[in-house]
């Protein structure tokens, strides 16, 4: 895996102390537990509708989560549980939303694909491919205009690189030098089709960076510390008026596109390689142990994570469905839905 095509690697520029390393590990472990639990609940028929898991892709969200300022903005896709979680949306709120419970983050009005918590800068999960890319540019424009040095981070998949909004947003962000970081999580499959089969260039985001006057950045999205460092560098650029960054982080989703998809179009050996040898969570665990991190500290995080996810699951399960009346609220700013007098 290339760390950065143009020798702009930020590796080593943002050293992680033990606290940061443990934060990174903890975020990944908690995202993993959350995604696995979402899967298990789906298999128990407790999740309404569909859900798109980012299992295997946790290092990217965790790297950014550990790097971002509290008042920064994130925009993500329907595969967005990891990104919302690292900003501070609780496991209970996410699982509750998946299960359509009143305790859910959106009380069931949004569902798995739309988790949002504006109080935490988690500015929404968007289920139309590419649409959130210009919206993230708008939040960055707002931060630029208000002079707050906030940055917007926009996560999207490899499939997004072939839709028009990708091009419009990147050009727009580049010409206005907007403080936005675009992060392509290249999990190598747009829905059910390999991205390489439908894209004119090998690296769907990185190879297009030059079109927008941006540096081509291609990183191993399963390397948690590299993701943190890459995030720090891009956020520094954004805050210092350097404009947007486009990052392609190569990763792999352990499961199919959505829970309706067993992912059979992928060769078994490829799936096995990514799950067994390139899974970001054990990779990072081993790296920390090799570097001398006491095992007890990681084990404590693991145990706490298990406790958290069980508690969140019980909380979510114990909540009932939302009350009927909220179906008719919050179309308008006055809280109502009236369109006539």
């Amino acid at each position: 895996m290339t760390k950065s095509k143009d020798k702009t690697s930020s590796a080593g520029k943002y050293p992680l102390n033990e606290t940061k390393q443990l934060e990174l590990y903890q975020l990944m472990a908690e995202c993993r537990a959350l995604q696995q639990r979402a899967h298990d609940l789906f298999m128990q028929n407790l999740v309404k509708g569909t859900t798109h898991l980012g299992l295997g892709q946790e290092a990217i969200a965790a790297g950014f989560g550990a790097a971002m300022r509290k008042d920064d903005y994130t925009f993500n896709t329907y595969r967005g549980h990891n990104h919302n979680y690292v900003r501070g949306v609780s496991m209970t709120a996410i699982l509750g939303e998946l299960m359509g419970r009143d305790i859910g983050q959106l009380r069931g009005k949004g569902g798995s694909m739309h988790i949002t918590d504006t109080t935490k800068g988690a500015m929404g999960s968007y289920a139309i491919i590419g649409a959130h890319m210009p919206i993230a540019a708008g939040a960055a424009w707002s931060a630029q205009y208000r002079g707050t040095e906030q940055a917007a981070v926009c996560f999207f998949g490899d499939g997004t690189t072939n839709i028009g909004a990708f091009h419009e947003a990147l050009n727009f962000a580049a010409i206005w030098k907007l403080p936005v970081v675009y992060v392509c999580e290249n999990n190598q499959y747009m829905e059910y089709t390999a991205i390489g089969d439908v894209t004119a260039v090998p690296n769907p985001a990185a190879d297009r960076a030059a079109s927008y006057g941006l540096t081509s950045i291609l990183v191993d999205g399963n390397d948690a510390e590299l993701m943190y460092e890459t995030a720090m560098a891009a956020l520094d650029t954004a805050r210092s008026g350097g404009g947007p960054t486009l990052i392609e982080a190569v990763t792999y989703r352990h499961y199919g596109h959505s829970r309706a998809d067993p992912g059979k179009y992928r060769p078994d050996e490829e799936v096995a390689e990514w799950k067994n040898n390139r899974d970001p969570l054990p990779l990072y665990r081993n790296k920390l142990l090799e570097a001398g991190m006491p095992e007890s500290k990681l084990a404590a995080i693991d145990a706490n994570t298990e406790e958290m996810i069980d508690k969140a699951t019980e909380e979510a399960k114990s909540s009932g469905p939302p009350p009927d009346e909220i179906a008719f609220t919050d179309v308008w700013a006055d809280g109502g839905a009236a369109w006539r007098n």
């Binding site: 708008g138 931060a143 947003a169 919050d330 009236a338």
Partner: protein
Amino acid sequence: MAQLSYRDAVAAAIAQEMRRDKNVLFLGEDVAAAGGVFKATVGLLDEFGPLRVRDTPISEQAILGAAMGAAMTGLKPIAEIMFSDFFAVCWDIVVNEIAKARYMSNGQHECPLVIRSANGGGARFGAQHSQSIENWAMAVPGIKVVAPSNAADVKGLLAASIQDPDPVLFFEQKSMYGLKCDVPEGDYIIPLGQANIAREGSDVTIVALAAMVPKALKAAEVLQEKHGLSCEVIDPRCLVPLDTKSILESVSKTGRLVTVEENPRLCGWGAEIASIVGEECFWNLDAPITRITTPHIPLASVDVLEDLMIPSVDRIVSVVSEMD
């Protein structure tokens, strides 16, 4: 009162609100340095500077996405989509994102923005630059829809739209940009959702919007003079929120309803009004509700053909005079 053109009223309203609130920004294609292709935003760049009045690339999704992102994070953007036909290339941002953000987020997202656009026919621009799409907008829950018929309403309604906490699609009828009327000076606001009784009458209610309003008023004069019919002309001004109360009160009085719509026939806004009046005012009706619309075909470019399609004064006179 000063005489202002419809186009100058656009700039006047934007300037009024930008002076009032530094968080009001304006973006679009050729809107700043060029003052807009219809010259409706001349002078704004000079007064408010390039940080608040910004030219964009030809990127309608980026324009509306940027407006939405800014609106969600504390600003009050005004975006221009040069021709309303171009909404077709960015309708996703309007329909799936802007319109639904508040609801889907359980009330968390704010989306106070205005999208202005030149709408409608009469300028001989052909089928891709002449459509009346206010009925597309009306069909989507979560956006307000405004379509003024004169310069005074442009100023008051555009200012109200900018102040409104919800997303507003503001349709300017492009054949009317040069039309002048008395416009109140100073800060001027017309609340959204209040129809204007443009002419009082007792025999027939004619509901007309935007460029159809002056045609309906002219037809009403002819109908009075030549046929002795007293027409009440109602300009809803907003399709969402819709002032059904004024329409129902008028039809209760006159017993007859004609809608005059520039949009093509199927699912035009007049059909919704006809449905409401049919359900809620049926026993006061003395004649079938009649809709006058552009036929359900794309608009031709050349004047002689376009004029056959868009409802005319003659067509309104003819239809109304032949009602039972």
